[in-house]
């Protein structure tokens, strides 16, 4: 027995390539509860990229382990996860927090333990607080709500809009920015209505909107509310153009609202079309092969985050948190969504942003910046 065991041990030691170094990446997102789908598919994109690299022996002999934790989209839970990553010395970079609200509570902790993070929360405030150990490899809401406002004014010749917000961090933030941009461009916001984030019935809100007959309705909310809104809007005979943020960029949006109810709806997201480049098409194919389902709305960003980490590991002087942070802030990398680099506060210098229009059963690119 003993001999067999030591033999096995010897074999396995031989099997692993020597001098390999291993780092851990802290992955934090909601993995249970209603938002689990987004957290899981986002992380899957990252794993997809790195499983391949790991299998090939990693970057310069460095392979990546995942320390995946559920933050339940809850700020308190988020701080515990953050501390867990901080305490684990093998974790040298974090891919953390899908929700801005959670990021608000965890960023000070990462800052204290000097753990560099790629943050996914898109609230503009996050980068305004002087954190030195964070970058945001995704367009913030400022960029993301500018495009729809411009499009509404210039392409749709809209004069008036009604804004609906779910009074959550994301929904309220992005709809305010839309409103500001829409007004700045000469449009008029007739009314701003708020709904509860748990609402499913918008008929009474829609009856209010119908009476105002705006050209455009902007709904700052997430799935499934925007699908419900689109469906009920159609059923109640409201004919304005509907614009929604990134949550709508999923086939679920069309199936849940009903294909007939979402025709012409505009969806803004930081994600380029899946056929925009060979790299993205390749990604979509790989994802489906590996996970047996279509990529989630943010899977491509997980993949891009994997590409950023690869570039960071190629350019870093060492594997300490500080060295990785330094490399992260100056990295310039060609990714599936284009060339990315960060400015002083960790924001993308050029943040890609796209606008889609629902046509038939599909999203057609209507504009980008």
């Amino acid at each position: 027995m003993k001999i067999a065991a030591s033999l096995c041990l010897g074999v396995s030691l031989l099997a692993t390539p020597s001098f390999a170094e291993e780092i851990s990446v802290g992955l934090a997102a909601p993995l249970s509860g209603p938002q689990a789908y987004f957290g899981n598919t986002w992380h899957n994109g990252f794993k997809l990229y790195w499983d391949k690299l790991n299998a090939e022996g990693g970057v310069n002999g460095v392979t990546v382990k995942y320390n995946q934790q559920d933050d339940k989209a809850d700020p308190r839970e988020g701080t515990l996860v953050a501390q867990k990553f901080c305490d684990d010395e093998s974790v040298v970079i974090g891919l953390v927090n899908f929700n801005s609200g959670v990021a608000q509570s965890t960023l000070p902790i990462y800052e204290d333990c000097e753990l560099p993070t790629m943050t996914f929360g898109s609230n503009p405030d996050l980068t305004k607080q002087g954190y030195k150990f964070m970058v945001r490899p995704v367009a913030n809401d400022l960029a993301n709500a500018l495009l729809p406002a411009e499009y509404a004014l210039q392409k749709l010749n809209a004069k008036t809009a009604v804004i609906v917000s779910d009074k959550q961090v994301f929904g309220q933030g992005i709809s305010e920015i839309f409103g500001t941009n829409f007004t700045a461009g000469g449009g008029q916001v007739l009314d701003t209505l708020a709904v509860a984030p748990t609402d499913v019935d918008f008929t009474s809100v829609l009856a209010q909107i119908k009476a105002k007959s705006p050209d455009v309705i902007y709904v700052g909310a997430v799935m499934p509310q925007i699908a419900l809104f689109a469906k009920q809007m159609h059923e109640q005979g409201v004919t304005a153009s509907l614009m929604v943020p990134d949550g709508g960029y999923t086939p679920d949006f069309i199936t849940q609202a009903g294909e007939a109810n979402v025709q012409g709806t505009m969806v803004a997201i930081q994600v380029p079309p899946m056929d925009a480049s060979p790299a993205i098409a390749e990604f979509a194919k790989l994802y489906k092969e590996k996970y047996g389902e279509e990529a989630g709305p943010y899977s491509i960003y997980g993949y891009v985050h994997g590409q950023i980490l690869e570039a960071v590991l190629k350019s870093t002087k060492g594997l300490s948190r500080e060295e990785i942070n330094d490399a992260l802030h100056v990295v310039k990398v060609q990714t599936a969504v284009g060339e990315l680099e960060f400015d002083d506060v960790g924001e993308l210098k050029v943040a890609p942003s796209y606008l889609y229009k629902v046509e038939g059963n599909d999203f057609k690119l209507a504009g980008s910046r």
């Binding site: 993995l31 249970s32 689990a36 934790q69 559920d70 809850d74 700020p75 308190r76 701080t79 515990l80 501390q83 867990k84 901080c86 305490d87 801005s100 609200g101 608000q104 509570s105 000070p108 204290d112 333990c113 609230n123 405030d125 607080q129 009074k167 959550q168 961090v169 929904g171 309220q172 933030g173 708020a194 509860a196």
Partner: protein, 331 residues
């Protein structure tokens, strides 16, 4: 139910052993925590905050027998008091202890204001009305953006400091919480044994008979509500100071329900029960962290099983700190 006093005194040895074991476990945990990694300290801190909340709510539920499902409102009052008075939001940076005082007073006032109209209701009606008040407070906080930042919450809260000593690292927060839990626990324990505490128990047992012996039940209940709210608000300030970020999503109905569950599963009306309940509902899911959704399923089933097996809670009402201390000295 047997005559607890008699049956326990019949076997002093056994209870002494239990007392020593329980006390030793508590002392060991308290002493070991500062040497644990920060993550574990944060988990313990979280536990301590819930224990503090449990102690507060227990006054209303366990001692006075009123089902309050809106307790989180007072927690929110405390947290937002700190957030507003020690952050760039209003550009006020008051000292921590002063804010704790202000929060305690505000908590008490809110408790009384909410208490006056609702306390003549009973049972389920009281539960739904307190639930309603809790939700109203959360919705208002979520919507007065100019003051509370709305859903965005308030970030960059000051680090707390007491007499020039900064309290921000997990271990420092741990000491702060430990002292607070101890002091509040002691206060509440003495309160329970005071004449007011006895009146609460009488109201819990039979409100009508309590009136019949001259207890002004409205005032006594208000006192329970106010004390409980004050403790909730104090817990809120420490929570805000440790997280240094507050947003309405920390103060949902689920949070209120969690605290109620903690009290009932642990053992209603008993501080040790609250510790046990918090350990199960806060610590256990944290230990099972790797299992993501399965842990919540497990917790749900465990809750049902525990309630069926021990409907009165894990720790009996009579097995309080007093019993522990008596057991320790073999009395």
């Amino acid at each position: 139910m047997s005559v607890a006093g008699i049956s326990s005194s019949a076997k002093p040895q056994a209870s002494r052993l239990v007392a020593i074991l329980v006390l030793a476990a508590i002392v060991a945990l308290v002493a070991a925590t500062p040497f644990l990694p920060n993550y574990h300290i944060r988990v313990v801190n979280s536990l301590l905050i819930y224990i503090l909340l449990g102690i507060g709510l227990n006054i209303v539920i366990g001692y006075t027998g009123l089902l309050d499902l809106g307790f989180v409102a007072f927690y929110a009052v405390g947290a937002y008091t700190y957030a507003l008075l020690a952050s760039p939001q209003l550009d006020l940076h008051l000292p921590f202890l002063l804010i704790v005082g202000i929060a305690a007073v505000l908590g008490m006032i809110t408790g009384i204001l909410l208490g006056i109209p609702v306390l003549k209701l009973r049972g389920d009606y009281l539960a739904i009305v307190t639930l309603g008040f809790g939700e109203i407070i959360r919705i208002v906080i979520n919507n007065v953006d100019w003051l509370t930042g709305g859903p965005k919450g308030i970030a960059r809260l000051d680090k707390a400091s007491i007499l020039g000593v900064e309290i921000a690292r997990p271990v420092e927060i741990y000491w702060l919480l430990l002292v607070t839990v101890f002091l509040v626990g002691l206060f509440v324990w003495r309160l329970e044994r005071s004449i007011l505490g006895k009146a609460w128990a009488a109201i819990r047992e039979d409100q009508d008979a309590a009136r019949g012996i001259g207890i002004n039940t409205t005032n006594a209940k208000l006192a329970a509500f106010a004390t409980s709210a004050t403790i909730g608000a104090i817990a809120g300030t420490i929570f805000a100071a440790s997280q240094r970020f507050v947003s309405p999503e920390s103060f949902t109905l689920q949070e209120s329900v969690l605290i109620v569950l903690m009290i009932v599963i642990g053992g209603i009306g008993n501080i040790l029960g609250i510790v046990a309940g918090a350990a199960i509902l806060i610590l256990l899911p944290e230990l099972l962290r790797e299992f993501a959704e399965w842990r919540i399923l497990f917790l749900g089933i465990l809750m049902v099983v525990l309630i069926i097996v021990r409907p009165a809670g894990i720790v009996p009402r009579t097995f309080g700190p007093e019993k522990l201390i008596r057991g320790l000295f073999g009395k």
